[in-house]
Amino acid sequence: MKKPRFSAYIIAWLIGVIWILPFMGLFAASIRPYEEVVYGWWRLDKLSITLKSYLEALDHPTSPMSKAVFNSVIISIPTTILVVTAASLAAYALAMYKFGFKNLLLFVIIFILAVPVTSIIPPLFFQMHRLRLINTRAGLILVNATWGLPWSILFFKNFFLSIPKNFVESGRIDGASDFAIYGLIILPIAKSALISVAVLEFVWTWNSFLFPLILLHNSDLWTVTQCIPVIKGVFHIDWSLVSAAALIAMIFPLIIFIFLQKYYLKGIMVGAIKG
């Protein structure tokens, strides 16, 4: 393997620093008072560090982040469980059985994957209204889970297809039922795939904004992403406060990425290489 030139190191690290710099700014702004941040978070002539903005954001009068974190957690966990369950079951059928409408179903799944969610918000709003699911967590969980399914199904299907057929056959010979083969043979082998889907699904649900925006109007139910534009406001922006709120909103996905990076990237890349 050829050793890269010294200049390549410098350029590579420079790019990395340029790309992360805006986030470093966000962090710096969140721990410094507004009076200092307004003239630039990078200026060090007067430096005071305070957690005041975090406390204000957590206890914000119209959109408290403390409540929002709780809301996001209890929406993201059931969504993740629902997606992992429904997607792995469906993918098992797609990978292991032959049935008439299989190609049609695959086409629908890929089509839904390509649909921008903004294009269904008018009918979705009316539908959820008729089902009395506006302003309910259950409604948001069902919608988020549904739109997380296509990618997860395709991911699981690819993984299941890579499992050698004799695992399934040996189960058949032992007289295990189809659901026993799925639950007792396939799922334990697919542990890493289950983690990948769970990790990505949790983060995607946590990060979602459009669905909560149109489904949850009661501010007691707001998720972290919903609170950010409200805290930001329109005319005067308190950068310290907004930065602290943004940091609180991103800390969960960030921690998950740092500790489960392997699974996270595998999810994205396997999807990429195999479609």
Partner: protein, 301 residues
Amino acid sequence: MKKLRKGIIPLLFLLPALVLLGSLALYPVVESVRMSFMEWDGFKELRFVGIKNYIKIFKSKDFFNPKGILNLSSPPYGALIHSLIWLAIFLPLITILGLTFSVLLRNVKGKSVIKSFIFIGMVVPMIVCGVVIRFMYDETAGIINAFFRLIGLGNFAKTWTAYPDTALLALILGSVWVWTGFSMIIYAAGLDLVSEELYDAAEIDGASPWKIFWRITVPILKPCTVFIIIMGLIAALRIFDMVYVTTYGGPGSASMVLGLLIYIKTFVSIPSDLGSATAISTFLLFIALVTSIFLIRQVKE
């Protein structure tokens, strides 16, 4: 009897996913198309009107306003043209930057840290990226204007997202900053599959690094490029959160995009303009249908 049971088993496995996808994905998609052919009085459906809503959106300046771009005046040019401009800048830039970075980082020490730095924007909520983008462009508190002042271009300093002539471009570049992480990771994964010997052999044959890049790296990574273009297209048409939190489509619709226009016509306009909203939706759904046909070809390969 046994055969019947055998036919039912895959259905049982599929049932939860079918119920969810059918009721909360496919039904609203079909309903969007149907609603676009109806006349509306606020939230009340009146009657079938054919393609009247489609004619209406192409006549409305917030959707399609080619005059502005033909006169070379500053935006708004309408959400459709803005989204097309978005694609025209966003797709080439994320591909070129992603490819360059992945090649550059191939053998660099600490590459996983640098890659994580570049990828972070893809991990955190898009709404947070929007806040960060708005912050970078701020006249006094933003790092970009500080850079301009540093190199003596201080009189260019302004809040880039607050002016009609720069708002759209500023947001597009912001989205490039976020999505370069995605294309870089895909290309890096593709590069890992290329054997080192291939490069060594080319080098022994006396090929220049430039030639190796164009004759070996680029063709081998073609499937990655196709995938990035397709996913980038889907992502760019989906853009909503980022624009919502930074400019809300402003100033004066100068950075309005299709997704946000649908939202505003449905929930903000008084009275609600559902005919236009669903006509725009159907337009997006049609693009999604075409995209998914390409995506299926990619999957089959």
